[in-house]
Symmetry: C2
């Protein structure tokens, strides 16, 4: 397919680019009044995730309104555990909540086996198809999933947590069970991501939001092992692995067979570049709080980041999802600064 | 003063030791039924903090019951903002809460100036004196404070947070105000720590619980600058700086003029040792979740840590506070394993 703007895909592949592409994690979301207007018509967050027309509409909004160089499908990483037989609710102010959790073999046995991912997550694939049509080739479309460790965290803990100590506990009390659950999440995730590609996703991203709570050895064993399986099962696709907080594990992360590494604002662009050379694209990593600053603060901090790049293999983004109370006008300053910067 | 057991102090100073000393962050607390019995008699957490007899009683409990090699005064880092004129409440299940916050010069101006730290925090000094007496020289007594950045986080945010985005926002929107508040916290903290030494503390620890949410440059500017001021103002004292989560900043942290660095379970003992050589003691850093494991898991993981030490300059601890639902018998396995290990 021909894109009007394929900078994002070229940057993933390490091809020549005229300028750095830019998008924001959580760009389709609460920062936009137009998103909140759609959301207000619905019963809740899940209705938005599960209704392809609405999910597609809010996915395209930041392309129209902010001028980003890529769209990312509006969805949630927790659709995967739900497809596996562990439904969740999204509670206002409090975040995700699971009625059931997996902390024993008996509970693991209650999960559905050999699920039909195409069927169970059809609403995501439908949303991708609609979005692909709606985008009319303006920019590429990103599909995504949670990395197995992060999905495991929610399935064991049942809700968000500062420490995820129930999840980490299982690694010491029953590592065999932990590996079995991680393997099952991995299998479903591979099917899910492949089906997203079939439905129209042009690139993929794995979000490992809770990578940073594991020590380096444990992240290698319980985190990266499964990410590697996913990456290796879906080769030759622009794919970003974003292991938030795993500063100590950058050397191992650098060895994954993905095209692109996502960096949070604690990770060093220069040090990671030194490790990966020209073999990988780096995505990130402006501190999301910069967008609270004045226009000149945003311009200066963004240009400082851009000037630090020693390669064309960069996709500009924040180091985490954009905070919901950021003014969209400030987001535009960030985007314009990147798009006007001459490589 | 003569100690029956001064291993902890000798390890801080890099003197010869027969075995590694061991204690646990949050050892005086909810893990002990004896603590919960004291707590149940009182109106709340703050009454315990503010009543020297009770604070002293629970401080000594883990020395009697667990056999640790150091006591740490039972208190809270938030007594400092309260002494500065910003009172807090400790809400059940929800954590600390401040009615007022500091986000503008006007709000900063409302803080009390030239406070009499001796008077405002007299209950802490009284608790230290009582504890010192009660310990009868069995083990050294640790005093502590929050590092300025972490105290700043609570004073600006007004409560706990996953992102502390209000606090980080101020670094971009009003860095002058941020530095002024950090300076004032630093001045009070220096007075507070000196007075703790006068009241009987044998060693000090600075807790920078939210170090990890700042990027490396910002942590150097807004975090370590102020820690360095404190460390330099109180020389020749066994002092531990624990910058939780600041994995990327270990090179800068290593240059502080303190005797000891606290490491969380994400930080590498080997890499930090390489940076500091024999100039510093390292404290930590077993994953707190190990204590959920079986006795043999605890023994094996603890011995693995001990075997990794290439120096005598170590104080063994967890990489974070002990989780409140850990069985004290498991804590004893950890302590015994360290105390029976031959250097």
């Amino acid at each position: 397919m021909e894109f009007k703007n394929d900078l994002f895909l070229r940057a993933h592949k390490g091809e020549a680019i005229e300028r750095y592409p830019v998008w924001l994690m959580r760009q389709a979301g609460r920062i936009l009044p137009e998103y909140r207007a759609v959301r207000a018509k619905l019963s809740g967050f899940k209705e938005l995730v599960e209704t392809p027309e609405f999910a597609s509409e809010v996915t395209i909004q930041p392309v129209d309104l902010l001028g980003v160089d890529a769209a990312i499908i509006f969805s949630d990483i927790l659709v995967v555990p739900e497809a596996m037989g562990l439904p969740y609710e999204m509670l206002e102010q409090r975040g995700p909540w699971f009625e059931n959790t997996i902390r024993s073999q008996e509970q693991l046995n209650l999960l559905d086996k050999n699920i039909d991912v195409e069927d169970r997550l059809s609403y995501v694939f439908e949303a991708l198809k609609l979005t692909k049509k709606g985008l009319e080739g303006r920019v590429p479309l990103i599909g995504f999933a949670g990395a197995p460790w992060t999905i495991f965290c929610y399935m064991v803990e049942g809700k968000g947590s500062k420490t995820f100590s129930e999840s980490r506990k299982l690694l010491y009390t029953n590592p065999v069970l932990a590996h079995e659950l991680l393997s099952r999440i991995t299998d479903v995730t591979i099917q899910y991501l492949k089906a997203q590609l079939t439905a129209g996703a042009d690139a993929l991203q794995l979000f490992d939001s809770w990578a940073g709570i594991l020590g380096r050895e444990q992240y290698a064993a319980f985190g990266l092992t499964y990410i590697a399986k996913i990456v290796d099962a879906i080769p030759n696709i622009p794919m970003t692995v974003f292991s938030k907080g795993a500063v100590a594990s950058i050397p191992e992360i650098s060895k994954l067979n993905c095209t692109t590494l996502g960096l949070d604002w604690n990770m060093s662009v220069a040090e990671t570049r030194e490790l990966v050379g020209e073999t990988k694209t780096l995505q990130g990593n402006l501190d999301p709080c910069v967008l609270y600053g004045s226009e000149s603060v945003i311009e200066n901090e963004t240009i400082k980041l851009l000037k630090s790049f020693k390669s064309q293999r960069h996709i500009v983004n924040l180091g985490h999802g954009v905070y919901p109370d950021i003014d969209p006008e400030k987001v535009k300053v960030f985007i314009k600064t990147v798009q006007n910067y001459e490589i």
